[in-house]
Symmetry: C2
Subunit: 310 residues, 2 copies
């Protein structure tokens, strides 16, 4: 472990303890670090500036060495592997290098991880949901890239916080435009030879397009801060439940569970801005989220519910 | 017919005769106007500035009065109707009004019309292909909107020719981002209740995502002028052949036919820039395009081949 990694882990821990203090909770034991990274602060597991791929893989290796990956860490790791196999840097590199960069420099989203967790909760396998989870990360990465685009005329919204720009705006625009349909391509291509999963795949495509299309992300970005995240989290959980063979009640409940997770994560990301009322709201949403899981057996809900801090 | 319409039709005819002269062809008779508008000059049927919806509907009405719609005009008219039913201006109007505007102010693309024509050629009905054709228009409209976005840093490409901007850049960005997935949503939602067309729909989604995704439109925009148009035209024809129940040879031949149509239309749009060599190339591509249709019965190919000026 290099000095740089030690510094980074110290950074994560300092912040983690700070948020635990805010929430009047005990700091998590070492073996839970991955889980709580997801719970308490979205993207806290990433350094403040966009890490290079080699930096990120060093971090992942360091966690692997500890042999104590949390449930959601293992999911993120599997999604990452699937995406790395799907998006290789090849000719023309002027297209695939930035595509690779934007895909992996976008912060990880719990929406993608929820897709796998929901699938496993209803009895499906990780493999059933990994493509959809990757597609959800891709549409999220495309939106993240466009959210930081430098435009000459902004009317509705302020640009996102400044991030380092490795490429020109038109590369960000075009590659973002290419990443989104690539997500749908991955999904559509994952039809099994007999076409038995084709109905489920089309339903998943409808879920994702609604979450990121005009009625979802656009309306959200135009109107209410945090709305897109909530839609994508609900969508992720619903897609997983569909692919895992859940019944309509299970799909509906997991979708609502995902919406609460998105709300909670959105609120946690703003916790520094003000105080008390938000913690009450957080507890209320956490309770409502867990209520949606009651129809599942208690043994099964343990893993998926770690994301709301239980 | 208003004075404005008479002026517009005079404008179209002046240009039409000019292109006929260039191609050493007789000017078309009045009743063929619609067909030849499609053949000789992409988007010639549109005034130089973006028409308002009411202006466009006046034009359509004027053509309807003549009761002499060409084959491709009837297809464009049906796609337009389907899109108008799918995209209504509703709440929140700040989202759906610009979505409506960008969808209908983008120039019509022969790629969408080829989808219907190819479907009918292989024995399918217009209804089988109208949703896919609408989806192709939507991804084209999203790309057209983003192609004219005002960015602060351009590296790869020059912006498209200046067009009137009714909205701020971030509205163009976000609504463009919303229009593209809406195309896939329309397609995925068109699964029949028994799911019998689901395999075809997923294959069509793969065709479209490849044409507009990283390997298609992005690579094209980055590297070679005209490439995206060719990919989308080939994709349109292939999608129609798939949905109409064509066999693999028919799908392959119609895809290549569409690619040639895209190349021909790309070349025609640049005809004013220089002279002779391009006309030879045009004749060559036209011959190769028609060769792809030889496996179909001669009676059936008459309608689809009007688009390459036969």
């Amino acid at each position: 472990m290099t000095f740089k990694n030690i510094l980074f882990i110290s950074y994560v821990y300092t912040h983690l303890h700070f948020y635990c203090f805010l929430l009047h909770l005990k700091p998590p034991p070492t073996k839970m670090v991955g889980t709580h990274l997801s719970i308490f602060k979205p993207n806290l597991s990433r350094p403040p500036t966009t890490p290079t791929p080699s930096h990120r893989s060093t971090i992942i290796s360091a966690v692997h060495v500890a042999q104590n990956l949390s449930y959601f860490d293992t999911i993120h790791s599997d999604i990452d592997s699937h995406l790395k196999n799907s998006i290789t840097i090849r000719q023309p590199t002027a297209v695939f290098e930035p595509m690779h960069h934007f895909t992996f420099s976008a912060p990880k989203t719990a929406a993608a991880a929820l897709c796998v967790a929901a699938c496993e909760l209803v009895g499906g396998s990780r493999q059933d949901a990994i493509v959809a989870a990757s597609a959800i990360h891709l549409v999220h990465a495309a939106a993240y890239t466009h959210d930081h685009l430098r435009l000459t005329h902004r009317v509705w919204s302020e640009p996102g916080p400044e991030i380092p720009h490795r490429y020109g705006s038109n590369v960000e625009l075009l590659i973002g435009d290419g990443i989104m349909p690539f997500g749908f391509e991955l999904l559509a291509r994952s039809m099994d030879p007999a076409g038995e999963n084709s109905g489920k795949l089309l339903r998943v495509i409808v879920e994702i397009t609604r979450a990121v299309g005009a009625e979802g992300m656009v309306a959200g970005q135009g109107y209410e801060n945090g709305q897109p995240a909530r839609r994508l989290h609900g969508c992720g959980a619903a897609c997983g439940a569909i692919l895992g063979g859940g019944n309509e009640e299970e799909i509906g409940r997991l979708k609502r569970y995902g919406v609460y997770v998105g709300k909670i994560q959105g609120l946690l990301s703003q916790l520094g801005e003000s105080g008390g009322d938000k913690l009450q709201l957080l507890e209320k949403w956490r309770g409502l989220a867990l209520k949606e899981l009651e129809c599942f057996e208690s043994r099964q809900i343990e893993r998926i519910s770690t994301i709301v801090g239980v």
